[in-house]
Symmetry: C2
Subunit: 574 residues, 2 copies
């Protein structure tokens, strides 16, 4: 199964998201820098990462005596990744990073994950650690650790989950005790730690949430610590093994080549990041960006699945399409064409939503106008749960459709699309389940600034819908506006019912936003007379009339269906 | 992970589907026979089959030197299955079967497949062979083979697919040549043959589609043959190995313990079933019932997944539900409750649709009134593709939701719900992909008797909707009626566009039928003042307001969305 990075689509989506800011805010990637970077990224992903994706799935990781051995070829690929400077593209230049915009990093993230999500998870976690350290760590910690994670010499992890504390971090129990020298001793067990142990780098820098003995209960008593696998000895060399180890790896549905570790801390040395009892805020800094990256994983696997299904559908001959004189390629059958258009349009819509989110992050960081910067930050906050949850839900749908297009062949592991479906399935779960995203959207993001961010989003959608000739676009936007109005009140007056509608509301948001962004894309292409125009017109039409038509039903669910949820317990005999 | 056969739901659904005919047509299962049979079936499934489901998934099947070895314990379980008489319940009494109604068989089929789909596939295929032989085989073939397959001493297979001929059997190439003694020689390769080779029984009776040298091209030149693994020697003992063998087994996404074989025929001796060149008709006899059984597999896995998710959601504590003073079981969170209600109501609706289909088959066979019998036969034909495709699509949705409810634990194979998702995924593919079902519904079933069967179905739905207090029920039925009217014309005037809407139309059919059957179920329970009434009322309300609300959007897709499919090629660059 091949994969070619869809550079035309990616560059187009990138330019569309940057919009009028392309020349002002993105000077550093003008003059072909973006194109060149993406070309090289595609070459590396297709040449180095893609060939290890299937072999990694089969080999998995080996665990013995506390050590994790990655699949054959992975050490070499990681060395090439580091040597190529890929790890550093998003890092801060103060610590050896290239400081490229979030938008270009998003485009690269899609490409890495499409080629090999199990591999790409390692730098994804490192980037989370980089962001948390940049924002909250002391100068001394930055000095010692940051540049080495930015370069990729060392990797980073996030240690949040414990057996009893998953979505609810208030329940975490890992203990931190103060040492006389200002450091801390960490004791506890963490589970589901991605790349918690591996053989790709010489040191692993763990970011660990733990609780001080005198901490208040709940989420306000959580602190964030840095605990490296190796501590410096007297010479400053990192040779002293810290009192932490991997106790096992999970046997998972997918992402077999990515080690998912149980980590045990037994009086391990840790260093405080930020202030005591302020760990959750530090962690959330990094989680927002990680959530966007996970959304891009959904886009990535959907793109790859769509390419695989399309190639198969053009080649495989079965049955006669209506009016065909002889056996047709299955793409000619309307039902197969529907599946392929569903896949392609969902993928394109989710990419546009994710890239808009990334562009908002850039605007928030780069725009000199404080109002624009603040509004952009709010927009990124608003869009992040939608980008994460919609992209990963549609990642599940699209990879499953790829199996369906392949028929019986899709169910055979050798074909490779079943792996995409297995790999994609984690994305709706980690970095906050998609239910948590929906609750975040309705409970925290929607009421921001009294609904102002939301209303700006609706205004933008309406402006696009007004210009559209397809009635379903406007209907989707109005259904979204109606459900939004309802929820803005309901979150205060009937919180349980508001939360009962959270998941369908998030989907509704994505359908309205997806339909309008595809419409905008088609218009933009038409203006430029690009050869891509016909493609985006077809995708926009299909999406509006076949996918966004679900919007009024979803609004009805949000507004009228909630009580059948909150009063639905009788269905379970009590 | 436990599973308890949901006998209350099953018996209730069975009585609802039998309706007024319960006393007339189902005398053979009156006086507690149905209850007793299902109790015993549940005991066998829970005690014998369920424990082998996980171990079978891990062990898979072993292939060496043409022989397939099933997982440890499977031979013993099959022996117990046969000894218990379970294989014979649906067979014709003339050949040792119990002749029990399709409705009771459907109920048992759900239970076997919930406990262990990989195991249940073996008798499912045997039953297909039994039906084809009963309907079309010569007395001599019946005499030799039928009773032994009915008892389960031997098993049966269906050999349709070839590498170049999957959904399109017209392309099949396996050759059959006439021998002087009236038998035939079969040569060719068949793939994806479920239980094509195994060690559970002494002989395997293959039903093979092949083409005679002078056959017309296409589907009108296909004949059906019986080719046993062992032929009789001079003493009549089945010791003579036929010239057919298994060349390998597939490495699949799921149903690991069920061998999926490549079968090679090299001048294998075969015996004609039915008439030359009429093989496809013979095969379709068996495929209709097999399709209903596959629909029941979807119901089965969805039921088991719902039970698992419900148990986990009642036990797992995370976060505070709205208004709760302390950490809540996750079932208390509205978003989790929504997932569980989605799972339970989809499962209940699909079960009702499948059982209605089975009851129509019984009516077709048992009703003395020829008009009622014919109408029942048409109804079974109409409902079969809906039962198959909707039940298996929702089987995918529900098993995936079970993973989601389990969060990170769901992604770990040890938890068991990931296996349900992997196992379920084949059901939308085999026995005619769900796309093929939708095409069958729109192209063949909808126009039956000038749309009369369809209109009877709509009348029945309308009668229920009129009595409903939930507007969404009526809206779903009217959306379905509107799309049906459109398609009755479009299938003639714009076949490509009609086919482009086939899949959303099938879903729309299922939503309208599911909502009305759940409504009927809730009413029936209320009349009987059953303790189950509150459960079905909750399920009916939830389904109408949260799932069936998609109906108008689907109708819009069918009626207005088709052109964006047939004209959508530009999305793929040409």
């Amino acid at each position: 199964m091949t994969y070619r990075a869809p550079l035309t689509d990616i560059l187009f989506s990138l330019r569309l998201a940057a919009g009028a800011d392309l020349e002002d805010l993105y000077a550093d990637i003008a003059d072909g820098v973006a194109e060149q970077t993406l070309n090289e990224a595609a070459k590396f992903a297709e040449g180095q990462l893609l060939p290890l994706d299937r072999t990694g799935d089969r080999a998995g990781v080996k665990f013995a005596d506390g050590a994790v051995t990655t699949a054959p070829g992975w050490r070499e690929a990681y060395a090439a990744w580091q040597a190529g400077g890929w790890n550093a593209i998003a890092g801060n230049p103060d610590h050896g990073g290239l400081g490229l915009p979030a938008l270009l990093n998003a485009a690269c993230t899609e490409i890495w994950n499409a080629a090999n999500i199990s591999f790409a998870l390692c730098p994804l976690l490192s980037h989370g650690a980089i962001e948390a350290l940049e924002a909250h760590a002391s100068a001394a910690l930055k000095e010692t650790y940051l540049a080495r994670i930015v370069s990729g010499e060392w990797t980073g992890t996030m240690n949040l989950t414990e057996p009893q504390a998953g979505s609810d971090l208030a329940l975490l129990r890992t203990r931190a005790e103060r040492n006389a020298d200002g450091s801390y001793r960490l004791t506890g067990q963490k589970i589901f730690i991605t790349y918690g142990e591996h053989d790709l780098a010489d040191n692993i820098v763990h970011l660990v949430l733990a609780r001080l003995p005198d901490a208040p209960p709940g989420t306000k008593g959580i602190s964030l610590f840095l605990a490296p696998k190796f501590l410096p000895d007297e010479t400053g060399a990192f040779t002293r093994r810290n009192a932490l180890h991997c106790a096992g790896v999970e046997h998972k549905l997918g992402i077999h080549a990515s080690p998912t570790c149980t980590m045990v801390y037994e009086d391990a040395v840790g260093f405080l990041i930020g202030e005591e009892n302020n760990g959750l805020a530090c962690m959330f800094t990094m989680m927002n960006n990680a959530r966007l990256s996970v959304g891009l994983q959904g886009v990535a696997l959907a793109e790859r699945a769509t390419q695989a299904a399309l190639a198969y559908a053009k080649e495989r001959k079965q049955g006669r399409a209506p009016g065909a004189p002889e056996t047709s390629a299955i793409i000619e059958h309307p039902d197969v064409a529907r599946m392929l258009l569903t896949m392609a349009s969902l993928t394109a819509a989710a990419r546009l939503i994710c890239f808009e989110t990334a562009a908002s992050l850039d605007r928030a960081h780069r725009d000199q106008d404080p109002t624009r910067a603040r509004e952009a930050e709010e927009r990124a906050s608003l869009l992040t749960p939608v980008a994460k949850a919609f992209s990963t839900d549609m990642g599940d749908e699209v990879t499953s459709l790829a199996v369906q297009v392949h028929g019986g062949m899709g169910y055979i592991e050798e074909t490779g699309v079943a792996q995409l479906m297995r790999d994609a399935r984690i994305c709706a779960i980690y970095e906050g389940t998609n239910g948590i995203q929906a609750i975040d959207l309705v409970g925290r993001k929607l009421p921001m600034s009294g609904g102002a961010a939301l209303n700006r989003e609706i205004d933008d959608m309406r402006a696009i819908a007004r210009e559209s000739t397809v009635a379903a676009v406007g209907a989707a936007v109005e259904a979204f506006a109606q459900a939004s109005d309802y929820l803005l009140c309901a979150t205060k007056q009937a919180p349980a019912e508001a939360l009962a509608g959270a998941t369908p509301y998030l989907r509704l948001f994505a359908l309205a936003r997806g339909a309008t962004l595809l419409e905008k894309a088609a218009k933009a292409e038409r203006r430029e007379n690009d050869h891509n125009a016909a493609r985006y017109e077809a995708l926009a039409h299909f999406f509006a009339k076949n996918i966004a038509v679900a919007a009024p039903g979803l609004a009805q669910t949000v507004i009228e269906g909630a009580r059948s949820v909150t009063e639905g317990k009788a269905a379970f005999g009590g």
